[in-house]
Structure formats: C-alpha cells, structure tokens
Subunit: 282 residues, 4 copies
C-alpha cells in the first residue's frame, strides 16, 4: 500500500478519491522500565499466554532472545537481558507503543520515570493514522526526526499521583474538519453472540459498519479498511455503562473524500476503485 | 449532584472551579425492532445471563413483566408483550440508548427501519455528558423537547449496506477548546492482571488515572469522577492492535477549570473542594 | 428578502443552494453617554455634516426632534432632549450599534460607564450576519430575548485603560467551517482612482469580487450580495501598511453551499437562481 | 526585535509572557502585470502622489530607477524598465505584497494572468504575522522555501469573473484558539475628529485600545504593538454601513499569554516587562 505525500497531504494511487492532511506523530515513545517493572510485565504477560499457549495468533509475545539487538552487551549479560527484554509492540506503564494519533507537533508529554536518567526513547514515526491504528501496520510510516526539549519535575509522579502511563497535552495544530460521518457499533459479535460491555468489540463493529458503507460507493473492503487505518478518523467510547452493550463510534471526516460521501435518497455516487476489474463486480 | 445552568453553561455547587458549555443531546433515540429482532435480543441476552445467572450486578437485564407500561394493551396481549419487551437501557441494532455525546443540535441521523412506520422514538435528554457517560447516571439530565424533521430513504438499508446501527452526522456547533489534558490507560487490571486487548478496561484505567490526577489538586475522587461524567471529555480508542495491551485515552479540556490544571514543577494549585472538611485531609 | 429558520439553520426561498447556522447576536448594546459625551458626539458629527451639508446620502444624521420617543419626558425637558438625543445608528464610545457578528451567546463584554447606573440597553437581535453587515439591513433580523448577568468592576475604566469602546470575549460556540473561499481587494475605486490606504474601499472591492464570482454560478448580483450580508462570512484587514494600497479580504465558508463553489478547470456549476427568468440571461 | 523559534512556536526575549504557534506564509506572491496594467499602476499612483507631492511620508512610491535590479537587462532596455518598474511594496491586481496571514501551508490560490507564461513570483516569507501587519516590518521574517504545484485554468478569468486580485482557499491547518479578547474602535481620530466610515481608522483605534489595555499589565506600548504585529491576531471589519462610524475589531487569542489577560475585579496581573526599569514607572 503506497501513500504519496504532497506537502502535508497524503493521497494513494491505491485509494482513489481520498486525500487528507497528516497528523504526524511518533507511534512509540517512553521511558525505560525498572528491573522490577520489567519482571512484572514478563510475569503478567506470560500468565496471559499460559491461559491459551497454543493460540494462533498468540495472546502476547514473550521476550525473544534469538537475534536480540541489545547495544554493546555481551556474554552472560547479553544472554540474561535477551531472555527478559520486553518486546516494544504493546504500550505499557512507561508509555511505549501507544500509537496516539494526536500526539503530534507541539505536544507536551509527562512520562513517569522508573530508572536513573529516565532513558527516554522514541521511534515509529507516522505521517498519519486513524484512532486505533486498526489495520495494525496501516499507519503511514515515514522517516523523520524529532526535535524535543526535556524538563524534569522532581517527585512529579508522587506530586501528581502518576504511578504509570503518560499524560499529554496535544499540540494545538490539527487539520480542521467541519463535517463527520459517524458509525456506531455495539458489543455483539458478527455471529450474533452477546458480549458484556466489550468496547473493543463495539469499536470493531463500528469500523465494520463504516467499511460496509464505503463499499457501496465502489471501494473494495480492503480499500475502505485502509482509509480507516490511515486517515484521521476518530474512535470514541460513546457508551460504556448500559449493560450488556457498550457503544463505540467511529467518525470519518467527509472532507477527505473528493465526492459526496453522505447518504441521500439518490443513492451512493459510484467511484472507480481502480482495481482493474469491472465496477459491477463489487 | 446538582448542576446549575446559566445560559449554555453548567456549574455545580458540588464541584468548585469547573464550568463548561453543554453539548445537549438525547441519550436515547431509535426505531422499533421487528418481532424477529426482538426475539434475537432476548435470546442472545438471556444466553449471556445464563453464563453467570447469579452475578451481582447482573450481566444483562431480561424483560420485566411486572408494572410494565405498554400503552393501551390489555389482557393476553399485555401479558405476552410484557414478557418479551426489551428494556431500553442498552443500545442495540435500532439505535436506542447510545448516549453519544456529540449527537447534538443540527445532527442528521440515519436509522435502519425494521417495522412498518419505523416507530421512531426518543428521550433521555442530556444537557451534557462526557464520552462513555462513565458515571452511568452522571450525564446532566434535563427536560426539553426536540424539533426534528424526518425523511425516508426507500431501500436505504440495502443501498447503503446498513443492516443495523445508526449512522449520523453531528451538528457543526460544539464548544471550541484549544487545549486538552489527556490521560492514557492500558488493559491491565488494578490488581495487575494482564487482559487481552480489552479497550473497555484500558478506558477505565485512563479515567482512573485522570481521577487520581485531579485529586492532587484537592478534589475528592467523587468530584473528579463527576467531572469526567458530565463535562465534554473525549474518550478515544488510541491503539487496539498491539497485543496484549490496548491503549485508550481520555481528553479533558483544560478550559473548563478556572485554575491552571496542567502539571508543572511548582506542583498543583490546591483548590477548596468545598466538602466541609479541612483540605489537609485529602 | 425572506429567510426561513429550521433549528439553528437559515435558508431562503430567494437564494437557492445556501444554508447556514446562525450566529445569533444583538446588533446593538451599550451604556448611556454622559451629557458631555453626548455633546461631543453632536459637535463632531455636525462638523462632519457641515463639510458637505447637502450630500445625498448624508454624511451623518443629527438628532431628529420630530416624533422622538423619549419615555415619560414632557414639555421643555422633552424638547431639550429631543434636540440633542443621538440617533442609535452608529457605534460610538459607549458600544451602541456595533453589529459585531461574533458577539454571540456566551460572550462577556466590558463596557465603559459614563453615568450613574450605567443605563445598559440593547436590541436589534440578529439571527445571522456577515462581517460588516454590508447590506445595511441585510442581517437577518429576529425577535428574541437576552438573558444576561451584570457585574461591576469599580474603577475598571482607569484600571484597564479603557476610556471608550467595548472589550469583549466572544462565546466559545460557533459554527465550525473547514474550508473558506477568500477574495481580496485593494484601495482602488471601480473607476480606477488610487486611494491612500483605504481599507473601507478595499473591503468593498473584495466583496464586489466575491459577488462577481458568485454570479458566474448563476446567482443574480442581488442574491450574491444578500449571501454576503447574511451568512457568517469573515471580513479581514489583511494589509494596512503597504502604501498606497491596503488589502482587505472576505472569507466565504464553502460549506454553506450545497454545490461545489470552488474554481476548477471544468468551470462553475450553474444553479437555477429561481428568479423566473431563463438562466441564459444572466 | 528578536523572536526565537522552538518548533512551531515563537517567543521573544523582548516580550515576556507570550508564545504562539506561527502561521507561516509568503507576504508576497503574484503574477506579472502586462505593460498596460503596469502603465495603469504608474499613472494612478502618480496621480495620488500629485495631490500632495511633498508629503512625509509620501502617499505612494513611484519607480526608483537608481540601483534597480532588473536581471540581465542592459542599456536602453534597462533604462526604460527601471523608469517604469513598479515597487513591490503594495498589493495590486496581480496579487503582490498582500500580507495575508492565513495564506499558509496547504492553501490554493487563483491568480489572474496578464502576460504569456504568467511569470509567477513569490517571496517575503513570514513565520507569523497579525492581520494587517500593523507594525509594517513587524511580521516575523524568516528564510525558507516554498514547494508548490501550478495548474492552469484556461480562460479562467473570464469564466469566473476574475479581472483582478487573487482568490484563495486557505489551508486547513491553523493554530486552534478557544478564547479571544476583542477590542473595538470607531472612525473618530485621536484628536476627536469624526471621519466618515473610515475602516482603516477604526481598525487603528481598535489596535490602540488593545495596546492601552495591554500596558496596564506592565507591557510597554512598544511591546504591546509588537505583539499585535507578530501574533496571530485577527482584524475584522465588523460594521461598515452605520454612518458616520465604521466599527472594526481586533481579536487577540488569550492563549498566547502565560498569565490571565482577561479583565477582572481584581485588576491586571502585573508582569515584568523586562526592560531594565522599575515596573512602577509604567
């Protein structure tokens, strides 16, 4: 999937009719865990894995000693560290791979500090991403650099009651959208099974409704999925207390489409999805 | 908990230092289910209840024949309907109690239709609510009326691939906030148990982090909780794919506080929570 | 010219293809002048009139004793007051007919006080208006009431260096627009005469350019003029120092049109202006 | 006057307590005039100069042959061109030095074309500027480059009724401000002379009111003036038809100050203006 940048805008030869301004951000940023915190991670994630160790895909990913890249460590130190070093895929108490789409230029973030020197690190630069990064690798990855400034609030974790997880103040410069098409979902599986207040599922259902909807305009399901993963869509927890259904919503800015994407009595405008197949087959 | 309205603004004698513009909306709106759809609801919700029938609180609430209010129905019809009529608490395929905070004045909503005449109904007017209505009854309820206009898109469900759940376009008039304080959470329980991509839990943890933070300014945990339930906070699904942790975030607009609520090296401004107890006890 | 209200939206049977959310505001609000200030107004405005007393239209409007409405005053007091009472058309040191389009719900305004009791008054409610109210009576007038709260800052005029003219903080609830079509003008008259840094003229020229542009879509000049007077357009002083030309701009939100109003290689979409005449005659 | 950039933000060692996000833009951009249009400029600007040829400062600036930089022209051609080449200070029909603060990244502009090849040129990059660039050289100048894309609409000037002056669509990425302090002014001179609907003057008076106000917080008048020239303030034509006074307003975003800049009963917070003199002397 290729996205082309023109100034602050992204378009794709693979998704006709869509263009949006990127909200650039690092997918991953955080401080280093203490040895205790690292041990906690490994223990609790292994406990989860142990509930269904043969599951595909797995429930979590334990340390992977083979080919571990660990700086200048060698010998026994290398072996010990490789055996306990956490993968960076998930977000955790230290920040990490939070993939927060509005954590963009001009943001200020407050991380807890667990070791001397904090050992702040960052990476995984995204040109743009929808809330949730629902396509997993569907954020638009890019090269780049970050120019940042670091302050220290001594005792800040205790002073502000922050034992874990980042607090941040997003920058004040985002693309401006006036109109959104919002899809809702509840915590019932595609097979019709009722789940109890499962907001993960209700967001998935909201996204699937958005995909179903966009395909009526001519997009393939894959294209619609890619739009939700890459464009600045918003994923909201709308209702989390009305048993047994949670309600999640996904907001798609209509201004990213160069055609009228709203429902009307005249039916959807059909676009050419550019997939080399007749439109009638969709 | 009392909120006082002044024009479009709400303040509370029970939560000092906070004032915000309401985003008025109906918590509940939707069409009537068909008999088949109603049967589906009862079947799947009962199946959930049956997994843990003695749970307190219950997993779901089945029809409650006693004292059911069913219009002019009488006799056997009343008994039959009372035994199968769904409670209106949860959102479902027909819309219902979605509690979507931005479903406000000027919105346009598209509901699926399951019976002749659609039987659109609505209610549960809110002056304001945070995403998720996390306090359950913490939205600011109010009396009011709705002036609306109804159109029909014949065959719209098929045309637009909408088999269930509402699509809506929010109105273009919301309070404008420039600065947000955002808290993140992951899907690890307070007891340290790792859950698999549980965005409901990660949102709960984000909210708890926000509450912990606000108490360092002098609020009681209950006051902080009420702020999150009533003010126009945003709940976002930030990361949903990085096993085993999802990342949710809650955004609190700093402009709703009449003091500086951001972290700084000088520590939190202490407000008087107005609870008739010395501040030092918090 | 008739505008129809649907909720917060205005449309007009006389201007097809346009709909916008009103920014309701009072055109006129202010405190009473002191006797000295009133005398100053009459003196300086008469001096302006005297420079061209027979001009049509006049340069200013002096007090109009005939049929003056002056509350319970009678006899000599009535005659004296009627001879010196200022017309309320222009804005002055006390506020008055400022016609500020964003002085809307939730605003806070600080007026200087010139007499005991301030004698705050207000009126001329507008449903919507473009910056400048360029059509003079083209704001959408409406009935209504204002619910307000008054505080007094003792000595505030001296404390804040406010000898005249209102300071205000607009409410935080406006329609949200993402895209604007902006027209620029400079201080050269339609006859080609160069004027010196005349921002009034450059705004007029910018508005005339907008009108010329809109007529290419099929609107009559009068319709285009009415759109600029009633819709929430923004009039900006863009450059005021580059002799001899000032530059003013008028921003028209594209979202108020239900067709594509932007320039393109395919030329303007022609709308039916609904004037009962063939489109080809425009 | 030195401004320091940190990311997208500007601060100045010369103006304490202020920081804002720049809206980068070229002050100057446009196409080349035809020989006829150039002659028109020279004729009308000279006619203005002739009304008061000895005025200081002058009403306009005629071509300045001495030291004219005219590419590779030589001899008689150089002399002819130098004698008629327009200065680039003012904006004119071709665009030029319009100094439009929101003509920023992502904008699309439509210029009239007067000669073969259009001869588009641009320059005078600004990091930030307030509406009007009221301090003349008070925009924050910077080096930089522009990456742009050019399309041609054949016959576009006739098709869209554009005989002169640019139309543009601003980019959709601006700093977001929720709260503005707005000052109003009318067309009465500082000496108390009434002028007829002079929006240039009423904007000047609004800006002077803003300056007076800011000095009560401790700023020098020069500092306040610099803030209005450099920060993203908005200058609006609020009322242009109520004889004899126009009303202009200047909107200052309160979020650019790191202290509370709103009026209150407790009086202004006094900042240290950092001018090496006791605060009591202001």
């Amino acid at each position: 999937m290729i996205w082309d940048f023109t100034g602050q805008k992204a378009t794709s030869r693979h998704v006709p009719g869509v263009s949006f301004t990127g909200i650039v951000h690092p997918g991953l940023m955080g401080t280093a865990p203490s040895a205790d915190l690292l041990a906690t991670w490994n223990r609790r994630e292994q406990a989860l894995i142990d509930t269904d160790p043969d599951r595909v895909p797995p429930l979590a990913l334990p340390p992977l000693p083979q080919d571990a890249v660990l700086g200048s460590l060698q010998g026994a130190d290398l072996e010990r560290a490789a055996a306990e070093a956490a993968r960076t895929a998930p977000p955790r108490e230290n920040g990490g791979n939070q993939d927060i789409k509005n954590f963009t230029k001009g943001s200020r973030v407050f991380y807890p500090v667990f070791v001397d020197g904090a050992k702040l690190s960052m990476g995984d630069l995204h040109f743009s991403q929808g809330d949730g990064e629902i396509t997993f690798c569907g954020a638009i990855e890019m090269g780049g650099f970050i120019d940042l400034h670091v302050d220290l609030i001594k005792g800040g974790m205790q002073t502000y009651g922050v034992s874990e997880n980042a607090i941040f103040i997003p920058g004040n410069v985002d693309p401006r959208y006036e109109r959104w098409l919002a899809f809702s979902g509840t915590s019932v599986t595609l097979d019709g099974e009722q789940r109890y207040l499962d907001s993960h599922l209700s967001y998935q259902r909201a996204c699937l409704h958005a995909i179903d909807y966009l395909t009526t305009f001519g997009y393939t399901p894959e294209q619609a999925y890619m739009i939700l993963g890459a464009a600045p869509i918003e994923g909201r927890l709308s209702g989390v207390v009305d048993i047994p259904n949670s309600c999640s919503t996904v907001y798609v800015p209509t201004g990213i489409f160069d055609f009228d994407v709203e429902p009307s009595a005249s039916g959807p405008t059909r676009i050419d999805p550019g997939q080399g197949v007749p439109r009638s087959s969709f």
